[in-house]
């Protein structure tokens, strides 16, 4: 099923990207051709195959570290790159309900 402009806009919205009309027109055929290409995988019968979620070769269960506090960043360091630090917080605009 070929991709439509509506699909592209929907996906962009999910990813918090808002594309211009020009970008949508440019991306549509590119994304469509890539998605068509990856259909190739359907040539393979994988019904008996377990999905490979972990790559770590021969890994047993991951070994978790103990629950011990360690030194971490001070608030000053943590805020050093913040676009809008304020009183020790990351300041952001208020959350507004989107009108549909």
């Amino acid at each position: 099923m070929p991709l439509t402009e509506k699909d592209v806009r929907y996906v962009a919205e999910l990813a918090h990207l808002e594309l211009t009309d020009q970008e949508v027109k440019q991306f549509l055929p590119q994304l469509d051709s890539i998605l068509e290409y990856v259909q190739k995988l359907n040539e393979l019968d994988t019904r008996e195959i377990e999905p490979m979620a972990q790559v770590t070769a021969g890994a047993a269960k991951p070994q978790l570290r103990g629950d011990e506090p360690r030194p971490a960043f001070t608030p000053e360091i943590a805020l050093a790159n913040a676009p809008a630090p304020s009183a020790g917080f990351f300041q952001v605009p208020r959350v507004i309900e989107r009108e549909s």
Partner: protein, 485 residues
């Protein structure tokens, strides 16, 4: 003595004999960067003070007659997806153009503990997404062998720096071939270890199950020495392998006579003579060195690109969700509220390839498509991995071309993203399986009589945690003149 042409062995000797100082070595590289880098454009950010301070520490050790750490004084470049404390790190993106990390990546800390002098941060495709470094949010890097051509990607800056003598060694990252392919296109040695061999702590994430850090150098020994310094368990990376790290350098000289070398037919079908002829000469040399050349089959090779571009983009869409203008990076205006801030920031900060991949990844993970794409790709990944494990029952290493083409011209491949993706065919398989791989120079090819010869790369692959074996074969190949076949 041209200080920028030295490799590690010569540096160690020259420092030990006090023929040069570490400070002279660093200054020579900084001077060459000033002269040459406006043509090559390997670097995004330079760190001369950091490099010189480190050099002085090394010189103080020498003056005190103290033993030197393994990479003492070595001028090193670091790909800009790897964070460096107090030194701007951009991931090749405008969205991080002002980002100053508060900590070092583990690999960086280990390099500096070993005495390496970090000259600066190298250019790359944005968030490591690309095969030519043309997707950098800043400018493209040029191939030192022919400035009209790409250095490959995404670690194009690191590969070019080493090839152009603007650093002795460099760090890069490899998710679908981003160390091995630019090494091939620039005529350098580039290596990726087993997944988990080198800590990813401090590597700006692209695709977490595929990302690796690894070294570039002009000789196999240099690459072995850097890998030695950075490899090994790191509690800060939950995927870090506890497998002990052998002494790679001391194992380089072990004989390779009798090694079984696999040639996978699927990697040589349709290969142009420009690449194929060089690879054949390389394989012939390995045979002459006593390796047993054996055909093997990796039947699912043809599905690797589709598999990779589903998994990598899916993971990228998740990893890049953090660039939202809240805690770091640029914030592109507030607008109506939080959601608009996210959109404006990401629209302004990300380039087109990044947007494309985020959208692909979002789509393949979205409700109704997850099973058809992502889950399916994970199953195919298991098949590709199984191909390798079965092949490695028959052979010790597998030899393939690294890239189907030599360095192409800047701008030549920008119109069709899918065509660019298809050129990754020989490298993505190793990332999918998590096995180690190395690319070594294997002669050159001349596109026309009046044009510069372009490097060709030969890739060697081995089973998980058999980096030492790869390095042995590569080293034997180098010593027998393989780089210039």
């Amino acid at each position: 003595m041209d200080l920028t042409a030295l490799t590690l062995e010569s540096i160690r000797e020259a420092l030990a004999r006090k023929q040069i100082s570490a400070e002279e070595l660093v200054r020579a590289h900084l001077a060459r960067i000033e002269q040459q880098d406006h043509d090559v454009r390997a670097y995004l950010t330079l760190s001369p003070q950091r490099a010189l301070q480190q050099a002085r520490r090394v010189d103080a050790l020498i003056a005190a007659g103290e033993p030197l750490p393994a990479l003492a004084g070595v001028p090193t470049a670091v790909k800009d997806v790897i964070i460096t404390r107090d030194l701007r790190t951009t991931a090749g993106s405008q969205i991080l153009r002002n980002y100053i990390p508060p900590y070092d990546a583990t690999a960086v800390a280990r390099l500096e503990a070993a005495g390496a002098c970090i000259l600066g941060k190298t250019n790359c495709d944005e968030f490591a997404m690309g095969s030519s470094t043309e997707n950098s949010g800043y400018f493209p890097t040029h191939n030192p062998r022919d400035l009209r051509r790409v250095p490959g990607g995404s670690s194009g800056g690191s590969a070019a720096a080493v090839a152009a003598h603007l650093a002795t060694v460099a760090l890069g990252s490899d998710t679908g071939g981003s160390i091995r392919q630019p090494a091939a296109l620039c005529g350098a040695v580039g290596m990726m270890g087993t997944y988990g061999r080198v800590s990813r702590y401090g590597l700006i994430a692209f695709a977490s199950s595929l990302d690796h850090l690894g070294p570039f150098g002009r000789s196999v020994r240099d690459v072995a020495a850097v890998l030695q310094a950075i490899a090994g368990y790191d509690p800060c990376d939950s995927t870090s392998a506890r497998e002990p790290v052998p002494d790679y350098e001391s194992r380089l000289l072990e004989p390779i006579r009798g090694f079984r070398v696999g040639i996978a037919d699927e990697y040589f079908q349709g290969l142009s003579p420009a690449i194929g002829d060089n690879l054949q000469r390389g394989i012939d040399l390995l045979a002459k060195l006593g390796c047993e050349i054996t055909p093997v089959s990796l039947p699912h090779t043809d599905y690797a690109i589709a598999c990779y571009y589903i998994i990598a983009t899916a993971e990228a869409s998740s990893n890049l969700a953090r660039y939202d203008g809240v805690r770091y990076g640029v914030r592109a205006g507030v607008g109506d509220g939080l959601a608009e801030m996210y959109r404006r920031t990401r629209n302004a900060g990300f380039g087109p390839e990044v947007k494309r991949r985020i959208m692909l990844g979002t789509h393949v993970l979205s409700s109704g498509y997850y099973d058809a794409y992502y889950l399916k790709a994970q199953k195919v990944r298991a098949l590709i991995t199984r191909d390798f494990l079965e092949a490695f029952d028959e052979v010790d290493v597998i030899v393939t071309p690294t890239s189907p083409v030599p360095a192409f011209k800047l701008g030549e491949r920008l119109d069709d993203p899918l065509q660019m993706y298809l050129a990754d065919i020989y490298t993505v398989t190793a990332d999918l399986a998590g096995i180690p791989g190395i690319s070594v120079p294997c002669g050159a090819t001349r596109p026309a009589a009046d044009q510069p010869a372009l490097p060709v790369g030969m890739q060697l692959l081995a089973r998980h945690f058999e980096e030492a074996r790869l390095l042995q074969v590569a080293y034997g190949f180098e010593r027998a003149g393989g780089f210039g076949v």
